[in-house]
């Protein structure tokens, strides 16, 4: 009777590959409807200003124009933590590219022509384009009315251009730094924005039918789109249905609402379906980037290499609206405050408003740069104390019973044994050091990430033909979890083959609430809900089969499409026979399941302003690389890359290998050449693929992979999310290896040839942050709640 997790483990291929390979898959950008209109957005040409004139009358008379909407049509605000984001700029514009009006017309060309006919006058206001300007004394406020924004999550300190401030304080850091037997190490680091560049841009087709909106969209979060659209438009959430065709890449960019409310408004106004798709330039200019960040980290380390105290200030640029960064301030405690045992610790993590395009979520958000910062800092600690970096890590990584920054108690020794496995993987995959005058560098780093648990729902319908239908709000964004892990879990629970499980595409009218596909949560949260639903089906089928076979349900086994009396193979019935009998006799068999975060506790009073105080499911990663630096050109070639990843249980190893290879390569882009920044006009300077350099086939190496199984996990069948974490410590690993190759202090990414040459010539001073105060306490808002020195 006991469910064998082993039967869920298999190399099961995804069912959408052939259509994708033959060009038949219809993504949102490929969809059309009879009578469909095409929409375009009027966007602000300046980063900050007051709208003194907005006249749509002439535009409304332009050929083919069927609807124009503005802020008058969308009264609400949305946000994460703070409802600070209106659909359209009304009175003021806060970033270059902010939508001001939307037009729907018979053709896209007519819609764009109408935009040009809108009478718009903006009186420029002073803009703060970076965090130094935003935090300067007497800086203009991006939201002068910040006090009026509705607070959706209590606990964060706010004030002026600080959208959100999260703090950690455990133990007496002052005392640790004042000890006479410690060495003080300080590192300052900076990273720019990273663009996700999903190949399908943000895209939507909306209709308004029978008093309800039907939104087809390229999103990772159908329920967020439903609820945010309702809030922005001021309509009931139940009036909105969201369905999701196959999504052409997300990586976190589509973990928030985007174009959907504009198309919905226009569809209602015009009474016709409306399509709205970002151009690539709009996509580059208004990407919800991985945020640029500035970090100062200090540690007090004893002679034998224990971290007696640590303090850090992390500034995260959220752009003109708080968005995901408000939430992500939480993650600093678990990433920068992770990996190692700490005596006392205090951290402040601030989301800072600027007059730039809003930032968002990107695969292992926050963790990628905080791991870069922590691991480079760790190498500097090792150098300062004369301990080998590998020894320092093996000695200090968190293990069973150790405390995290927020006082969470970790279970199991995971990182230590993973470091040992990495040493073995290195020995198995040696590379020749360069003999051509290039400088060789290598590094091993560790990283701590998590599974973003949270609510999920699933229904399993057992069909009389022996197939099962799984209904969830999960979206297939390319990772394959919806195609592989989920049907594998349901099939293993019901004794079916994964091929027998039909997976319903996301539809908020068909399935219950779900947080969304991201944060490594699909296999875990949707998987747990799906498994619970399948167990309910299984229980019903076994009861019916027991009646049919005149046996106790406990004596039955369900496997290979049959229900048998245990030990008597061939004695029973096919699952189809039982399902058909049950359907005729009692009605069709179905089951429902749900899942929610476990709410793992932190130490009382250790943190303020956090959305997650402790990690339900920590995920660990150990990365290693060998690389060669050309001292003449500054070019970095990766010679070998290795990953040992904590996956709990690997349900589909080839699928996980694919995620690791892809995630590492996105990380190599971040480490070596992907960079977006803001120009003096407030616009993103990298507006196309010409100036934003993505990794090419020739840049990459096959990643050597060892999956670490068996670490504790609350996930179904012991799983953890495996798709998000592969990017986590790539920037860290490359940075540490380049620092060792060049002897330079690597404090910034990406390591483009000019930066590497500057390191080699000693002309790369560490960044200085005048807006980060010398004293830790001076980096906190005066209103921030202070915790006691507990722990």
């Amino acid at each position: 009777m006991s469910l064998s997790a082993e039967t869920a483990v298999r190399n099961f291929r995804r069912r959408d590959a052939r259509d994708k390979l033959t060009g038949r898959t219809r993504y949102t950008i490929d969809r059309g409807h009879f009578g469909m209109l095409h929409a375009a957005l009027l966007r602000s040409p300046v980063p900050s200003g007051r709208i003194v004139r907005l006249d749509i009358e002439a535009a409304a008379r332009m050929p083919g124009v069927r609807a124009i909407v503005t802020s008058a049509d969308a009264p609400g605000r949305a946000g994460i933590g703070i409802a600070d984001h209106p659909l359209f700029a009304s009175n003021v514009v806060r970033y270059r590219g902010e939508p001001i009006a939307a037009v729907a017309a018979e053709t896209e060309a007519e819609a764009r022509a109408a935009l040009a006919a809108i009478g718009l006058a903006i009186e420029p206001l002073p803009a703060v384009l970076d965090m130094a300007a935003a935090l300067a004394e007497d800086a203009p406020l991006v939201h002068p009315d910040w006090r009026d924004h509705a607070v959706l999550h209590a606990g964060g300190a706010r004030g002026g251009n600080v959208a959100w401030e999260a703090t950690v304080e455990r133990g007496d850091v002052e005392a640790a730094f004042a000890r006479r037997d410690v060495t003080l190490v300080e590192t300052s680091l900076r990273v720019p924005r990273q663009n996700h560049v999903p190949f399908e841009p943000r895209a939507v087709v909306a209709r308004f039918e029978d008093g309800r909106f039907h939104i087809e969209t390229s999103t990772q979060v159908p329920w967020t789109v439903r609820n945010a659209t309702a809030a922005l438009l001021g309509v009931p959430a139940a009036a909105i249905r969201v369905t999701v065709p196959p999504v052409g890449g997300g990586f976190g960019l589509k973990f928030d609402w985007a174009l959907e409310p504009f198309a919905a408004l226009l569809a209602r106004r015009a009474g016709r379906p409306v399509r709205l798709v970002n151009s690539r330039e709009e996509e580059m200019q208004t990407c919800l980037f991985r945020e640029n960040a500035e970090i100062r980290i200090r540690s007090a380390v004893t002679a034998d290499g224990a971290v007696a105290g640590r303090e850090a200030v992390v500034l995260m640029d959220c752009g003109a609206y708080g968005g995901e960064q408000v939430f992500l301030t939480t993650m600093t405690a678990h990433t920068l405050g992770g990996n190692y045992r700490l005596g006392a610790v205090r951290i402040v993590s601030r989301a800072v408003y600027t007059n730039t395009a809003p930032n968002g979520a990107f695969r292992a958000c926050n963790g990628v740069y905080n791991t870069f910062a922590l691991e480079r800092h760790t190498d500097e600690i090792a150098a300062a104390t004369g301990i080998a970096p590998e020894t320092f890590r093996r000695q200090n990584v968190v293990g069973d019973g150790d405390l995290g920054a927020t006082g969470q108690v970790f279970e199991g020794d995971v990182l230590g044994p993973m470091l040992d496995r990495m040493r073995a993987l290195r020995d198995k995959t040696p590379v020749a050091t360069p003999q051509d005058g290039r400088l060789w560098g290598r590094a091993t780093t560790v990283g701590t990430w998590f599974v973003f648990t949270g609510p999920s729902a699933a229904t399993v319908n057992m069909n009389a033909d022996g197939s099962a239908t799984l209904v969830t709000s999960g979206v297939e964004i390319g990772s394959g979890s919806m195609q592989q892990a989920l049907p594998q879990i349901v099939a293993a629970t019901l004794g079916l083959q994964p091929e027998d499980v039909v997976v319903r595409a996301a539809d908020t009218d068909a399935a219950g609430y779900d947080v969304g596909v991201g944060g490594g949560r699909t296999t875990v949260s949707l998987g747990a809900a799906s498994r619970a639903a399948a167990i309910e089906v299984r229980t019903r089928l076994l009861k019916v089969a027991g009646d049919m076979l005149e046996a106790a349900a406990e004596d039955l086994v369900m496997a290979d499409g049959r229900i048998e009396i245990a030990g008597a193979r061939g004695s029973g019935l096919t699952i189809a026979e039982v399902a058909a009998h049950a359907q005729a006799r009692y009605g069709p068999v179905s089951g429902t399941g749900s899942f929610a975060a476990a709410g793992t506790p932190a130490m009382a009073g250790c943190c303020a302003g956090h959305f997650i105080e402790a990690l339900d499911i920590p995920v660990f990663a150990v990365h290693d690389c060998d690389l060669a630096v050309d001292p003449g050109t500054g070019h970095v070639e990766v010679l070998a890359y290795r990953v040992v990843q904590d996956v709990g249980r690997a349900l589909n190893p080839p699928a996980i290998f694919g995620q690791i290879q892809g995630g590492v390569v996105q990380g190599l882009g971040y480490a070596l050449h992907e960079e977006a920044d803001v120009g003096p006009d407030g616009g993103i300077r990298q507006a196309s693929f010409e100036t934003y350099r993505l990794p090419l086939a020739g840049d990459v190496v096959p990643v050597a992979i060892d999956l670490y199984e068996g670490a504790p996990s609350l996930g179904p069948l012991g799983t953890k999310g495996a798709g998000e974490v592969p990017i986590l410590n790539v920037g860290a690993t490359i940075a540490c290896a380049v620092a060792r190759a060049t002897g330079g202090r690597v404090c910034e990414l990406p390591l483009t040839p000019p930066r590497v040459l500057a390191l080699l010539s000693g002309e790369a001073p560490p960044p200085a942050f005048p807006h980060i105060a010398e004293r830790h306490a001076d980096n906190l808002l005066p209103s921030a709640p202070r915790q006691g020195g507990g722990g």
């Binding site: 690539r280 290879q661 390569v665 693929f689 086939a697 020739g698």
Partner: protein, 155 residues
């Protein structure tokens, strides 16, 4: 507007279009062949690659007038669900696909590269041949494996 005749996947199609209209838009909007993807629309990503008289070309930067009277093969013409081409089959078997947006262009380029004489059967040569095809999901290596497998079988 001009009259244009295209031999699309072996079928003669006559249509009228502005001569500078990108071939990509004609394929997608007029002929409803949505396999080719508009991703960067500047010729960098290769997601809209087609075979123009048998040679790979980015449909976004090809004015339809320059395709007049020529053969255009799109991903739809290279294989179907029932009869995938060797390249499509190899990519499926190597589990190369993730989001899939780049694959219509990848399939077109690899169809050309794996024809005898177009590319040496080595990793480096295949990677050099993919310089005009970007992928954001997969990290490329399985795509290279699949291409080498096709070349191996073809020998």
């Amino acid at each position: 507007m001009m009259q244009v005749t295209l031999l699309v996947n072996g079928e003669e199609r006559r249509l009228s279009a502005e001569p500078l209209t990108p071939l990509l838009d004609v394929l997608r909007d007029t002929l409803h062949l949505t396999g080719a993807k508009p991703v960067c629309r500047e010729g960098f990503c290769g997601a809209c690659m087609v075979l123009l008289d048998g040679a790979p070309a980015v449909a976004c930067l090809t004015p339809v007038a320059l395709a007049d009277g020529r053969s255009v093969e799109t991903v739809e013409g290279l294989g179907t669900a029932e009869t995938p081409s060797p390249v499509q089959r190899a990519l499926e078997e190597h589990e190369a696909v993730q989001c899939g947006m780049c694959f219509p262009g990848m399939v077109v380029t690899l169809t050309h590269l794996t024809r005898p004489g177009n590319c040496a059967p080595t990793r480096d040569a295949v990677k050099a041949g993919l310089v005009g095809n970007l992928c954001r999901c997969t990290g490329y290596e399985r795509i290279v494996d699949a291409a080498l497998a096709v070349m191996e079988d073809g020998r």
